[in-house]
C-alpha cells in the first residue's frame, strides 16, 4: 500500500490553499496511475481515499476543515468540493462500472446492489424538456409543406371588420354566418355601418383580402391563425379553433392546379399512399368550390369506424377564387382583373387534423393546458 503524503496547510491564504489542494490532487492522480487499472487495486484506492471511516478525504475534513477559522470555511469548502468531485469522477471512470454519480458539488451514491455495480435498471435522469403544443406542431407542419412549395406566410388581425370577414368575401348581408348566433362580435357596434362593425374573425380568409390589397399578383400565401365562432363547447366544437388557409393567384392558375397542389400537400402531410377526392361544394368566395376528402389514414380506404366505413375522410374546403373577390380588391390593386388572372384558395381546420393525427377525442383538451395531456407530445 502506497503511503500517501498529505501536506501541511501552512496558512489560509489563497496561494497556500491552492498549493495544498493541488498537491493532494497530484498525490491521488499518481496513486491511481499506479493501480494500472486492476480492479482490486482500484477498490483499495477507493477505500483509501473515500472510505467512510479512514479515507483521506474524511481525515482532511477532520483535520483541516473542522479546525479552520469560521471566515475561511467557505473558501476551504469550495476547494475541498472540487477535489472531491475530481476524485469521485476519476474513481468512477477508473472502475469498469461507474459506481458514483456526480452532480455538481454534491455527490450522491446511486442506489446500488453492491459497492461496485450499479442498478442500471433505475430510471435515467431526464433533463425535463418542454413540449411543443400539438396544434402548433401540426400548424407548423402544414405551413412548412406550403413554404416548400413557394408560399410565403401571411397573418392578420383576430378582430376584424365585417367588411374583411364577410363583405369582401361575397357573403350577402343576410348570410346566416353573419348572425350573432354564429359570430362573436365586439360590444357596442350598433352605431357603426355594417361594414365597419368589429367581430372576431370566423375564418382566416380576411387575410386573403388584406394581402391582395397590399400586393399585386402573383401571390402565394399560406395563412395560419386562430379563429372564433359562437359555438358552445363540446367534444368536437370549441369557440376557439385554428385554421390554415392558402391563396395562389397568377396568370393561368387552373382548377387542375388546385387539385394537384392539394393532392401533393395531403401526400406530404399523411404519406404518399394517400389519395384525394374532390366534390362540388359551396362557399361564397370561391367558384367552382370543392370539398376534399382523403383516403382514410386509419384503414387505407377499406372502411373503418373512423371513416364511418366509407374509406374517406373529409378534410378541407377549397375552390377557384370568385371573380367578385378579385373585383373587391381591384380598387386598390388594379392587377386583379378576373379576365386576366385567376387563382385558388383553400382552408383546413388544424384542430381536426391534429385530433385525427394524434387520436385526440376531445377538442377542449387542446385549450386546457392540462399537463397530463400535453406531456404525451414530448
Amino acid at each position: 500500500m502506497p503511503n500517501t503524503e498529505i501536506p501541511k496547510l501552512e496558512d489560509y491564504s489563497p496561494r497556500s490553499l491552492d498549493h495544498f489542494f493541488l498537491s493532494i490532487k497530484a498525490s491521488y492522480d499518481k496513486e491511481e496511475a499506479q493501480c494500472g487499472g486492476i480492479p482490486e487495486k482500484i477498490e483499495e484506492l477507493r477505500i483509501r481515499w473515500v472510505g467512510r471511516k479512514q479515507g483521506h478525504l474524511k481525515s482532511i475534513v477532520e483535520t483541516c476543515l473542522k479546525t479552520a477559522p469560521a471566515e475561511v470555511k467557505s473558501a476551504l469548502g469550495v476547494r475541498f468540493n472540487q477535489l472531491k468531485v475530481h476524485i469521485d469522477q476519476a474513481l468512477a471512470m477508473a472502475s469498469s462500472d461507474a459506481t458514483i454519480l456526480s452532480t455538481g458539488y454534491t455527490t450522491v451514491r446511486a442506489a446500488s446492489r453492491t459497492a461496485d455495480s450499479i442498478d442500471i435498471t433505475l430510471p435515467g435522469i431526464r433533463p425535463g424538456l418542454g413540449v411543443e403544443h400539438p396544434l402548433v406542431r401540426t400548424m407548423n407542419e402544414i405551413v412548412g409543406i406550403f413554404q416548400r412549395m413557394g408560399y410565403s406566410v401571411g397573418v392578420g388581425p383576430e378582430v376584424e371588420t365585417d367588411y374583411y370577414n364577410f363583405e369582401a368575401l361575397n357573403f350577402p348581408p343576410d348570410h346566416p354566418a353573419r348572425d350573432t348566433q354564429d359570430t362573436l362580435v365586439v360590444a357596442k357596434q350598433e352605431h357603426k355601418s355594417l361594414r365597419d362593425r368589429l367581430l372576431l374573425r370566423t375564418h382566416t380568409s380576411p387575410v386573403q383580402i388584406r394581402t391582395m390589397e397590399r400586393q399585386p399578383p402573383p401571390i402565394r400565401i399560406v395563412i395560419p391563425g386562430k379563429v372564433h365562432r359562437n359555438d358552445a363547447a363540446d367534444a368536437t366544437h370549441s369557440p376557439i379553433f385554428h385554421q390554415v388557409e392558402g391563396l395562389c393567384v397568377d396568370e393561368n392558375i387552373t382548377f387542375s392546379d388546385l387539385k394537384g397542389t392539394l393532392d401533393h400537400a395531403m401526400k406530404e402531410l399523411f404519406g404518399s399512399s394517400v389519395k384525394t377526392r374532390f366534390f362540388p361544394s359551396f362557399f361564397p368566395f370561391t367558384e367552382p368550390s370543392a370539398d376534399v376528402q382523403i383516403s382514410c389514414i386509419f384503414c387505407g380506404g377499406k372502411g373503418c369506424r373512423k371513416c364511418k366505413h366509407s374509406g374517406w375522410i373529409e378534410l378541407l374546403g377549397c375552390g377557384m377564387v370568385d371573380p367578385v373577390v378579385f373585383d373587391s380588391v381591384r380598387g386598390k390593386q388594379p392587377g386583379y382583373d378576373p379576365k386576366k388572372i385567376s387563382g385558388f384558395a383553400f382552408g383546413m381546420g388544424v384542430d381536426r387534423i391534429a385530433m385525427m393525427k394524434y387520436g385526440i377525442s376531445d377538442i377542449g383538451l387542446l385549450y386546457s393546458g392540462d399537463m397530463r395531456f400535453l406531456e404525451q407530445f414530448a
Binding site: A75, K259, T261, D370
Partner: protein, 699 residues
C-alpha cells in the same frame, strides 16, 4: 332531406345504374347522398341527402332526377299536371298583390265540393317509406308536391275566406294565429296573405289557424305563389319559425313553378272527389319576372372554361360539344354565335346561375371534379418570411429547451380579469354576445388564462408545472382594438423534481429570472436591467407579489413583469402553492434584432481563478457589487460570478443584518501568461472597490 330512389326512377325510365352507383355519382356532382338505406326488395333505397344551401332546386325528387338525367344523358319525364276541365266561374277569384316588392307571383285555384279523407295509394306508400306523417288528403297533397318538385303550396278552407285575397304588408300590431296554434303579433315588414277582413297566413312561412283544412272542409282555395326570399327570411327569423316552406322560399324558389304545383296539388285533392271552379288566377309582378323567369341570357366563352378549369385526365380541355350537352341537360338554352361566345339562357329554377363563372362551375361539376388532372402551377417569385418568424422560433426553441410546455388558453376572460390584468388601466374590449359572463371580454393579458391552466392542473394533483403561451392580447376599446403579441410564463412546484438519484428543488423567482435573461440574450440590446418598485408606487402590476417580483427593461423600454403571484390572486383562485407568472411584451421584444453569434479568439494562455469571500450589509445588492467590480474595467477579468450566498448558520456566524458572498473571478489574457504581481494588483483593486461599498473581506 330524405329521397326515395324509386320516386327518382319514376321520372327516369331509362335509368339503369344501381341505387348505390346513383348515390355515388350524385355525390361526386355535388348532390351529396350522405347515407343509402335499403328499404327492401321492391321499395328501392332511401337516400339521406345533404344539399348545399345554394341548390334549393335539388331539394326535391324531380330536381335530383333532373341532375341524374344530366349526368347519364338520359331523358327526364315531364311532370304529369293535366287537370279535368273546370266548371266555369261567374268571375275569376279576386286576387290582388298590394306588396308588389315582396310577392312576385300569386296563383289561386278554387276547388268545390271536395271530400276530406285519408290519403291513399302512392302517397301513403311513399309517406310511409319517408316516415312522413299522414294528415289528410288536402294537406298531404301539398306536402307531397313539395317533396316531388320542391314548390311549397297552401290549401285554405275557402268558406272561411271573406272576400278577395290580398297579399299585403301586415299592419303593425296585427295578430295572426298560425297553424302551430301560436298567436303572433306582426310588424309592418311581415308579408301576409289576407282576405278583406283579416290576415290568413304568414306568407311563405306558415298558414293560419282560422282557414285551415278540417274534416268539414267542402271548398278549397289552392295557393301556389312566389315570395321574395328576403321577405320570407326576415319574417321567419323575426318569429323564430324555420319551416320547410320558408327554407325553400328564402333560398329562391322557381318562378315558373306555381301553375304546375297548383295543378299537381289540385289533381291529388280531386282524386277523392270534387271539381275545379274557373280557370287558374295567376297574378304576376313584371319586375320580379324580369329578375327570374325572364332574366337576360349570359355569354360563355369556351376559352374561359379552359382558362379556369385546366385540362382533364385525358390531358384535353373540355370540348365545346361536351359543354353544350351538360348545359342543355341542366335546362339552359344555348345559342352559339359564330366564332364568339355562347349566349346562354338560364333555367327559371336555377336563380343561383347569374354569371359566366357559374356556368363554368356547372360544366366542371357535371364532368366530375375528379376527372380533371392534377397539375402543379409554375412558380415565379420569391418567398417572404414574416419579419418576426425567426424571433418567435428562437423564443419557442429556448423555452422548450428550458423545459416549458407550450399551452393555448382561451381568448376570453371576465370583465374583472380584463380590468385586473390590462397593461393600461381600463384598456380592454367587451364582447357583444359572449358565450357567458365569465368569458365576456377579450383577454387584455395572457396571465388570467395561464392562472386558469395552472389551477386546472393543481386541481388534478399535477403540482410541478412549467408552461408558456404565446398569443394575442387585446387592448383599447370597442371602437379601436389593439392587438399585440404577448408571451406568458407560468410555473409552480419543483424546478427539479426529486428522483432516485438526487433531491428536488423548488421553483423560485430566480428560475423565471433566468429564463427572462436567456430569452433577452437572444436579442441585440444595448442595455438591460431588472428592477422593482414598492406596491404603493403603482408601478408594479397588482397581480404580482410586492417584493418578490421584478420588471425587465431593455434599452429603456419595459419588456415585461414577472415574479410570484400576489397572495390575494392566489387565494381567490384557491392556488394552494406558490405560483410564479410573468408576461412579456413581444411587440417590444421583436423590435430588437436577433443576436447574431460571433466567435472570438480563444486564449492559448492559462486562466487564473480567484475566489473572494465578503461580508456585506443586507442593503448592498448584487447589482451594486457587480457594477463596482465591472467598473474597474479590468480587461483580463474574463468572468465574475456569485458562487455562494449565506446568511449565517451552523458553521458560520455572521453579524446580524449581514450576508456573506463568495465571488469567483477568472483572469486570462489573450497575449501572455499572467504574472502573480498582476493578479495581486487586481485583487487589491477589487478589495478596495468592495470596501467602498461597505464590504469586508473574510479571507
Amino acid at each position: 332531406m330524405k329521397i326515395l330512389s324509386n320516386w327518382l326512377r319514376a321520372y327516369l325510365p331509362a335509368l339503369k345504374v344501381s341505387d348505390r352507383q346513383l348515390a355515388d355519382d350524385l355525390t361526386l356532382r355535388g348532390i351529396a347522398v350522405e347515407g343509402v338505406f335499403d328499404l327492401g326488395s321492391s321499395n328501392g333505397s332511401l337516400f339521406e341527402m345533404d344539399i348545399t344551401t345554394n341548390r334549393v332546386d335539388a331539394m326535391n325528387h324531380y330536381g335530383i332526377a333532373r341532375e341524374a338525367a344530366a349526368i347519364y344523358d338520359i331523358p327526364l319525364l315531364p311532370l304529369e299536371a293535366s287537370l279535368p276541365a273546370a266548371r266555369p266561374a261567374k268571375r275569376p277569384f279576386p286576387v290582388r298583390i298590394d306588396a308588389q316588392d315582396l310577392c312576385g307571383r300569386f296563383t289561386a285555384r278554387v276547388l268545390r265540393n271536395v271530400k276530406i279523407a285519408p290519403s291513399s295509394g302512392e302517397i301513403v306508400e311513399r309517406f310511409q317509406l319517408l316516415e312522413q306523417k299522414l294528415i289528410g288528403n288536402a294537406v298531404d297533397a301539398t306536402n307531397f308536391v313539395t317533396m316531388a318538385m320542391g314548390h311549397p303550396t297552401h290549401a285554405f278552407d275557402l268558406d272561411k275566406v271573406e272576400g278577395a285575397i290580398l297579399v299585403r304588408r301586415a299592419k303593425a300590431g296585427e295578430r295572426l294565429r298560425l297553424l302551430d296554434g301560436t298567436e303572433r303579433t306582426l310588424v309592418a315588414d311581415d308579408l301576409v296573405v289576407s282576405d278583406e277582413q283579416k290576415a290568413l297566413a304568414l306568407a311563405g312561412v306558415m298558414g293560419g289557424w282560422d282557414t285551415m283544412i278540417t274534416p268539414a272542409t267542402k271548398n278549397i282555395l289552392v295557393e301556389a305563389a312566389w315570395f321574395d326570399p328576403g321577405s320570407v327570411r326576415r319574417s321567419s327569423r323575426r318569429h323564430g319559425l324555420h319551416t320547410d316552406a320558408s327554407h325553400r322560399f328564402e333560398r329562391g324558389a322557381d318562378f315558373a313553378a306555381p301553375p304546375i304545383a297548383s295543378a299537381l296539388v289540385s289533381r291529388l285533392i280531386l282524386a277523392a272527389g270534387g271539381e275545379i271552379e274557373g280557370e287558374l288566377v295567376d297574378v304576376v309582378v313584371p319586375e320580379f319576372a324580369a329578375r327570374t323567369i325572364a332574366r337576360p341570357p349570359i355569354s360563355l366563352a369556351v376559352g374561359e372554361v379552359t382558362r379556369i378549369l385546366g385540362k382533364t385526365v385525358e390531358d384535353q380541355p373540355i370540348d365545346a360539344a361536351t359543354m353544350e350537352r351538360y348545359l342543355t341537360a341542366l335546362g339552359c338554352g344555348i345559342q352559339p354565335t359564330s366564332g364568339g361566345p355562347y349566349t346562354v339562357t338560364l333555367p327559371s329554377w336555377r336563380l343561383d346561375l347569374e354569371r359566366e363563372i357559374d356556368l363554368i362551375e356547372e360544366v366542371a361539376r357535371l364532368h366530375g371534379y375528379n376527372r380533371f388532372s392534377n397539375t402543379l402551377p409554375n412558380f415565379a417569385g420569391s418567398v417572404v418570411e414574416l419579419p418576426w418568424a425567426a424571433k418567435e422560433k428562437m423564443l419557442r426553441g429556448k423555452l422548450l429547451a428550458a423545459g416549458y410546455a407550450e399551452a393555448i388558453s382561451s381568448t376570453f376572460c371576465s370583465a374583472t380579469e380584463a380590468v385586473t390584468f390590462a397593461p393600461q388601466p381600463n384598456s380592454y374590449v367587451p364582447l357583444g354576445n359572449p358565450l357567458s359572463e365569465e368569458v365576456g371580454c377579450l383577454r387584455s393579458s395572457l396571465v388570467p388564462g395561464m392562472l386558469t391552466m395552472l389551477a386546472h392542473n393543481l386541481n388534478r394533483e399535477v403540482d410541478d408545472l412549467k408552461l408558456f403561451e404565446m398569443g394575442t392580447i387585446f387592448t383599447g376599446n370597442t371602437d379601436r382594438v389593439q392587438e399585440r403579441p404577448s408571451l406568458v410564463l407560468g410555473a409552480t412546484g419543483a424546478a427539479i423534481a426529486p428522483h432516485a438519484h438526487a433531491e428536488g428543488r423548488a421553483y423560485t423567482f430566480f428560475d423565471m429570472k433566468g429564463v427572462a435573461e436567456e430569452l433577452l440574450a437572444g436579442f441585440v440590446t444595448k442595455s438591460s436591467y431588472f428592477d422593482t418598485f414598492p406596491a404603493a408606487s403603482g408601478l408594479m402590476p397588482q397581480w404580482l407579489y410586492s417584493g418578490r417580483a421584478a420588471r425587465l427593461v431593455a434599452d429603456g423600454e419595459t419588456i415585461g413583469f414577472f415574479g410570484q403571484l400576489a397572495p390575494q390572486e392566489a387565494r381567490q383562485r384557491k392556488l394552494r402553492q406558490a405560483v410564479f407568472v410573468g408576461e412579456f411584451d413581444l411587440e417590444r421584444l421583436y423590435r430588437h434584432a436577433l443576436r447574431e453569434p460571433a466567435a472570438r479568439e480563444l486564449s492559448r494562455f492559462p486562466a487564473v481563478v480567484r475566489d473572494f469571500s465578503f461580508t456585506f450589509p443586507d442593503a448592498v445588492q448584487w447589482r451594486q457589487i457587480s457594477s463596482a467590480l465591472l467598473g474597474l474595467a479590468i480587461a483580463e477579468m474574463s468572468s465574475m460570478q456569485s458562487m455562494e450566498i449565506f446568511r449565517g448558520g451552523e458553521t458560520v456566524s455572521l453579524p446580524p443584518g449581514h450576508y456573506s458572498i463568495l465571488v469567483r473571478t477568472v483572469f486570462q489574457a489573450q497575449d501572455r501568461t499572467l504574472r502573480d504581481e498582476e493578479v495581486q494588483g487586481w485583487w487589491e483593486r477589487i478589495i478596495e472597490a468592495v470596501r467602498s461599498l461597505g464590504g469586508v473581506l473574510r479571507s
